[in-house]
């Protein structure tokens, strides 16, 4: 480009520029080799250095006489680089005759490390036999720093990913452990299986609404003495660990109280006093509803004595197909008042008759927007199946619960006791 006011150069001046260019070109190949901005090196096939340029000698801080014929290429490398050279570089070069851009470090005379990129080519003779190795060496300090940064970032990213993965696994393991613990705890709140009661048939079902929230329903059945058996079923307020601890307290209080005084009213009164003392006095009321019963199987059937603290009424399926509710008027939530009234009722179960205790998960199940299943529907359901053995009834009710699907949003406990129907008297031929 020509500046304003400048005259075009006379043709003679062009000749002068060419002369300067020519003098540059006169730079000999030898000088180009020695002073090139990269290192040059030729070695014998065994690596012995035969020729090396000034640039590389300068980088290394070595005298030519100390190198040529005295050192091998690998000697210029750091120890790690030597290992890499022997295990990767040299074999590859032998096999394919050429290698480019290998990252190595030279060790300078002063002890410094010089990151370089090395390319080598095998020169072959007329018969294809390898003669020598030509190598160029580029200063790669900047590039290496960049690569190291990339590698560092990659390592960091891998580490972060590994840590995230570890955290995810730990969280999963924690969740699994918690689920295990909850399942164990849940099992401690209700018996694994009911004992056999001579002259009675029993059946239970427990529906857990949510695996991670401990439910608050409970039941039990245990012997009082040779003739009588106690049983109870109930529902504590709330959900989760606090409900579980309340359930546990309730279950073991009722068991202990019954052994002390087997009257059903006495067991619930004791439970009321315990819960009231433990919770309500501190301003943190917790309570339960419960039915506690004592059953005594006899030759003609079983007598049943029930007491209830605010629990939905028990139901009896009679042998003639009738269904009765057994209300216990006057009973109150257990644990609310210092002296809570307890309601009681008695009945007799004839052969083929079944008593059902249930929690309100069953009657409160949602059957439509704003609709709950309700006591009347339950009664009608039972009437449609009476008479029924405890197992038949529980099986039918389990099917009913399954049919509620998501509408069943609370834990539900079902306990049925019954006197087996009289066997047909027809004798089998011998």
């Amino acid at each position: 480009m020509r500046r304003l006011g400048e005259e075009p150069a006379p043709s003679g001046a062009g000749g002068g520029a060419n002369a300067a260019f020519t003098s540059l070109l006169e730079d000999s190949a030898e000088e180009l080799y020695e002073s090139a901005p990269c290192g040059y090196l030729s070695t014998l096939m065994d690596g012995t250095i035969a020729k090396i340029n000034d640039t590389l000698l300068e980088w290394l801080g070595l005298e030519r006489t100390a190198v040529v014929g005295r050192r091998r290429f690998a000697d210029l490398l750091t120890v790690g680089g030597k290992l890499y050279h022997e295990t990767h570089f040299a074999p590859l070069l032998r096999m394919q005759g050429e290698l480019r851009g290998i990252a190595l470090e030279l060790k300078t005379q002063a002890g410094a490390r010089l990151p370089v990129l090395v390319s080598s080519v095998v020169k072959r003779g007329g018969q294809g036999e390898p003669l020598l190795i030509r190598t160029t060496v580029f200063d790669a300090a900047d590039r290496r720093a960049y690569e190291e940064e990339l590698l560092r970032r990659r390592r960091e990213a891998e580490q972060a990913r590994a840590e995230a993965e570890r955290a995810r696994r730990e969280a999963e393991a924690d969740r699994a452990r918690l689920a295990d613990a909850l399942a164990v705890l849940q099992r401690s709140l209700v018996p694994d299986s009911l004992p056999d009661v001579p002259g009675l048939e029993t059946a239970v079902h427990y529906h857990t609404a949510s695996a991670d929230r401990l439910g608050g329903d409970f039941y039990d059945l245990f012997p009082l003495d040779g003739e009588r058996w106690a049983f109870f079923l109930g529902d504590v307020c709330g959900k989760g660990p606090e409900a579980a601890s309340l359930t546990s307290l309730t279950r073991y209080t009722l068991r202990a109280a019954a052994l002390h005084d087997p009257a059903p009213e006495a067991a619930l009164t004791t439970l009321n006093a315990v819960l009231y003392e433990r919770y309500a006095v501190g301003g943190d009321p917790r309570y339960c509803t419960a039915i506690f019963g004592v059953v005594e199987p006899g030759p003609a059937g079983a007598t049943v004595h029930l007491a209830s603290g605010g629990h939905p009424p028990a139901m009896v399926l009679r042998a003639d197909g009738g269904v009765e509710l057994l209300p216990t008027p006057g009973g109150l939530l257990v644990g609310v008042l210092p002296d809570a009234p307890v309601g009681s009722v008695r009945t007799t179960l004839a052969p083929g008759e079944t008593l059902l205790l249930y929690t309100d998960g069953l009657t409160e199940a949602r059957t439509g927007p704003g609709d709950r299943y309700g006591e009347d529907a339950l009664r009608a359901f039972a009437a449609g199946r009476a008479p029924a053995s405890p197992q038949q009834l529980i099986t039918a009710l389990t099917g009913l619960l399954d049919g509620f699907g998501d509408g069943l949003d609370d834990d539900t406990a079902l306990l049925a006791l019954g006197v087996p129907a009289a066997r047909p008297t027809t004798e089998l031929p011998r």
């Binding site: 790690g80 290992l83 074999p91 032998r94 096999m95 394919q96 470090e105 590698l151």
Partner: protein
Amino acid sequence: MTNMDIRSRNNVTITGLADAPTVILAHGFGCDQNMWRLIVPALEERYRVVLFDYVGAGGSEPSAWDPERYSSLEGYARDVVEVCEELDLKEAAFVGHSVSAMVGVLAARTVPERIGALVMVAPSPCYLDDDGYRGGFSAADIDELLESLESNYLGWSSAMAPVIMGNPDRPELGRELTNSFCATDPDVARVFARTTFLTDSRADLADVTVPTLVLECTEDVIAPREVGAYVHAAIPSSRLVTLEATGHCPQLSAPEATAEAILDFLAAWH
């Protein structure tokens, strides 16, 4: 894993005379069975030659890689044992280069009926210097090697790949070497490097009872002459041959001499 076909897992190749005694060739750290390419022709004339890649190297099955198993030489020895069993080898001669020489020692101990002779090429039972023992390296040196592997990961993947892919002089090599070197996952190389250079197998040498050839080079940075002498002294049934070769890979730098030494030894044994 147990159902995986061992032959494809270890990329087993079999050449040479089908009815002749078997020689099995095991590569060392950094390479694969291509390392034997220059001496295989000489061996093929007289023997059945079995080549394979350790899991993690060359054309082995990548999904078989197990960092735990291959963190000890026993893991690599199991590869050898499994290949021997798969081919039902009896009294085979095992030729192991570098770290593979020690892998062969372990394998021969496990299945003595299958391995009848050992050829240890540039072996070293311990690369680290130890009280009174000169292995040649310090732990810091090994860390440097790991760094070199790491820093060449970028080099291999970017700069090296095209070079190796297009090798106009010897196109038959290009493809295989691509597989051999570019496919080496740096994580795999790191595990193999640590196992190779940080294992001390000196005590295992005492278990060698089979005829053994120790091949060393006159100048080997990785396995110095002292180490060759040490191995020879530790194995009473061994012969030591020093090849006029430099570097750690005499099968590449002096293939004729290497093949000749192996053939002489095998002929004497048989």
